[in-house]
């Protein structure tokens, strides 16, 4: 990347040598991307490759640790989303940021209303809306209440809002994530229309099909680095996939011992269905087995975990744990049957941050800690201390609130909570999210060690490598279905990723409609 390229008038925005670090992970490493004016620029990569971070930095939602953003040939330093918007750069995130109960027009001009002495000028607003509507050709009724719109039209509202603020550069982050496939088509035509009107679009998606369908240029990120870039016309799903995979860095995983001596079935799941989220999921986990559940974010992995744990109601399907069918509709029943769930978000679902380590650890097990309803506190503290020590939680007192622990230690506390009474089945949903490398290895050792004692483990992770490194068998989910089952030693990242993305081995595209 030369400085002359940055200064060329056709370069709308360039991110040069951008680096960004989050606690425990390097999100971006020396990334340089040049986006041409009036083009659609696709950003693809696996979960956690850094594409969203890059988009957020371009749009001012995050500040780079090092590196520069050049806008129209000048270096800029956005102080935030608002600042970027004033300079013509807008972000449309995955979750629509609109006021659902208000009209399209209200949302489009929110914060940029035409007023006279603070009083809304309805006529001028409507005139501006007509102008914008004619310009985009989106054809949304200004009075329509946003909550009544089709999902794909929410992006139109947000695009119009960006255009109303004179934005000429729009970053769209996973805009299609919550859309069915017919809606995706509508979205893609909206994006094309925006480009034809002269807007520059950065389109972030993990759908290779979408990106290849609309992008002019594509940049592939892997582990926070640019690994491939070029004209979209020169790329195929296969070429992008190969770039996304790359050479897997040699991470260390504990050796699996005794994985071939599996015990009897601990948990069998049959025809589990929750409309729109999971579809006819069937599998079995045996004692001593680590079953990996891979797939993209939103493919239904966590929903399967929650369904087994009875955290959500399912429409149909059965879960049998240790020969007993779970019939109740609350996690109590699952816990009694010997199931533990380490949920994906330790802060909102797993722990009560303002309460002590002891209180958090024994909460699901008070029956075994209390006598006649009265908590035996010495007994409790002694057992928690032993467990917490064994798991290596570093703390400054068991009575201190969990909030004061570091992320890795909070995660270990969460493990302590769910291992206090050895479960038959341990479900770990993203057990290493936000955990630094050292602590990660300790969690791997723990999981493998537990399986060696005969515990059944269901491991869910967005990190494909992690699943392959630990699991003896891997299920891959896509759009709520299990689309592939492979033995852990025969699975490769490529096989898993192809199944997760829906790219079959002949290079074609097996995108299915599950609407």
């Amino acid at each position: 990347m030369t400085s002359t390229a940055i200064a060329e008038p056709e370069t709308h925005l360039a991110a040069i040598q951008v680096t960004k670090t989050f606690p425990g992970t390097q999100a971006l490493r020396d990334v340089s991307v040049r986006v041409s004016r009036g083009s659609i620029h696709g950003l693809v990569g696996e979960n956690g490759a850094g594409k969203s971070t890059l988009g957020r930095i371009m749009a001012g939602a995050a500040a780079p640790d090092a590196g520069t953003i050049w806008l129209n040939g000048h270096p800029v330093r956005f102080t935030g989303l608002r600042d970027a918007l004033q300079q013509g750069v807008a972000l449309i995130g995955q979750e629509p940021s609109v006021v659902m109960a208000r009209s399209v027009e209200f949302n489009v001009f929110l914060g940029a209303e035409s007023t006279t002495w603070g009083v809304l000028n309805a006529r001028e607003l409507r005139a501006r809306y007509r102008e914008l509507s004619d310009f985009t050709g989106f054809g949304l009724r200004p009075e329509a209440i946003v909550s009544s719109l089709r999902p794909a039209d929410l992006q139109k509202v947000q695009a119009m809002r960006a255009l109303a603020r004179k934005a000429s550069f729009i970053v769209m982050d996973e805009a299609s994530a919550s859309l069915g496939s017919s809606e995706v088509e509508r979205l893609l035509s909206t994006v094309r229309r925006l480009r034809d009107l002269g807007t520059t679009i950065v389109y972030i998606s993990h759908s290779l099909r979408e990106v290849l369908a609309i992008a002019d240029h594509v940049t592939v990120l892997r582990d926070g680095e640019v690994v491939r870039e070029g004209r979209a016309a020169d790329e195929t799903p296969d070429s992008l996939l190969t770039a996304m995979l790359g050479q897997a860095p040699q991470a260390t995983y504990p050796a699996r011992t005794g994985t071939n001596t599996l015990g009897e079935s601990v948990c069998s799941v049959e025809h589990l269905t929750r409309p729109g989220l999971i579809h006819d999921v069937t599998f079995e986990i045996r004692a001593g087995e680590i079953l990996g559940l891979a797939g993209l974010v939103g493919s239904g992995r966590s929903e399967v975990a929650r369904a087994i744990f009875r955290a959500d109601r399912v429409r149909s399907g059965t879960v049998v744990v240790a020969g007993r069918r779970l019939t109740g509709s609350s996690p109590r029943d699952a816990i009694r049957a010997g199931v533990s769930l380490i949920p994906e978000s330790r802060k909102t679902l797993g722990l009560i941050l303002d309460q002590s380590i002891v209180q958090n650890v024994t909460l699901p097990h008070l029956r075994s800690v209390a006598r006649m309803g009265i908590v035996r506190r010495r007994f409790e503290t002694r057992h928690v201390r032993q467990l917490v020590e064994r798991l290596g939680v570093r703390h400054s007192g068991l009575a201190r609130p969990v909030r004061t622990l570091s992320g890795g230690n909070q995660q270990r506390t969460l493990f302590a909570k769910w291992l206090f009474r050895s479960p038959r089945l341990l479900i770990a949903d993203e057990p290493t999210r936000g955990v630094d490398l050292g602590a990660r290895r300790a969690i791997y050792d723990l999981i493998v060690g537990l399986a060696a004692t005969g515990m059944a483990v269901l491991l869910i992770s967005s990190d494909t490598e992690e699943v392959l490194g630990l699991a003896s068998r891997v299920l891959v989910m896509r759009e709520g279905r299990v689309v592939l089952e492979v033995a852990g030693d025969r699975a490769t990242e490529e096989v898993v990723l192809r199944a997760a993305l829906g790219v079959d081995s002949t290079g074609g595209d097996t995108h299915e409609d599950v609407a």
Partner: protein, 325 residues
């Protein structure tokens, strides 16, 4: 290395000034006022005055025990004032209607349990916001109280009706004894039992509690039932003291109760708090009134002063929360 840094951070956080004020503010302010009154008024430390302070605090204190449980479990109960009135009215009405006086008082307490159950069902099974629910049920309970008596005063002439409200043992009135006993029980349940843990967990993070197998609806609902019980107990004691049931007696008592809870440092957002805190809060408000009396201060300023104390307590709670995140 990392260990020591973590410990340091932990200590710094633990010694956060605002958090410390929140944790011990009630103790400090209670002692401050107590000492000031001891020094400025000769009457204050007389045993008669201290017993009067306790007696004056008892009804609010009993209600505040139930209210504290509701708050910690993440709920809110505004209907306790109306429950207080309704239970008293029904007890008085029953006694006038020749029901055995003691049975009439028990009946009043049972009404409170029923009323609490209604609140519990509406907020848990019905999933209606607790604040709105109890504003609405408050109107209903007051309305029912008026309907029962036709809006009139009910005067009980049977002497034995007032034995409980006016009786005393060793200088302590029955209602003070009831208050102390009830507070000890509630405090024990909260701090020592599994149910207490469930109450804190439900208010601290309802989804995490549910995923830990806690029956969050049952727990939160139960606190409403206890709250109804405690409001009715206070109402019955009040009517047994005065021998007169009046639908609008002690209007606004629920606000005094809520203020006491908040001054004590129990969080209005749930998950934190303690009975002993609330008890100090109750006593603090009574002390302020007592002080204005003893020192012959203009009583018109009393409410202004109380308002400032409440505001300070809530502000400290809010700032302590913000400094944590």
């Amino acid at each position: 290395m990392k260990m020591s840094r973590e410990r340091l951070l932990g200590n710094l956080r633990g010694s956060n000034a605002i958090e410390r004020v929140r944790n011990y503010g009630i103790v400090v302010s209670f002692l401050a006022i107590f000492i000031v009154l001891s020094l400025t008024s000769r009457v204050f430390l007389s045993s008669q005055n201290l017993i009067d302070i306790l007696d004056e605090s008892a009804q609010v204190g009993i209600m505040a025990c139930g209210g504290t449980l509701v708050f910690i479990a993440g709920g809110f109960d505004l209907s306790i004032g109306a429950t207080f009135a309704l239970a008293g009215m029904i007890a008085a009405e029953a006694a006038v209607g020749h029901v055995d006086p003691l049975a009439a008082l028990v009946l009043g307490v049972c009404v409170g349990i029923g009323v609490g159950t209604v609140n519990a069902l509406l907020t848990t099974v019905g999933r209606i916001n607790a604040f709105i629910t109890t504003i609405a049920t408050q109107f209903i309970f007051y309305g029912v109280a008026s309907v029962i008596t036709g809006g009139l005063l009910v005067t009980v002439t049977n002497r034995s009706f007032t034995t409980i409200g006016r009786g005393a043992v060793g200088g302590f009135t029955y209602q003070v004894i009831a208050w102390i006993a009830f507070a000890l029980i509630c405090g024990f349940v909260l701090s020592r039992t599994s149910v207490g843990r469930y109450i804190y967990a439900t208010g601290g993070n309802i989804e995490a509690a549910r995923l830990s197998g806690v029956r969050v609806g049952l727990i939160r609902g139960a606190t409403f039932v206890v709250s109804g019980f405690s409001a009715a107990l206070a109402g019955v004691l009040s009517v047994s003291r005065t021998a007169t049931g009046e639908p609008t007696a002690d209007m606004g008592i629920e606000l005094t109760v809520i203020a006491s809870i908040v001054i004590g440092g129990t969080s209005i957002y749930g998950g934190e708090g303690a009975i002993w805190r609330t008890m100090l809060g109750v006593l603090l408000l009574t002390l302020i009134g007592n002080g204005f009396n003893l020192l012959n201060l203009d009583p018109t300023y009393q409410e202004v002063f109380q308002g400032i104390v409440i505001l300070a307590a809530v502000a400290v709670d809010a700032w302590a929360r913000r400094s944590k995140t």
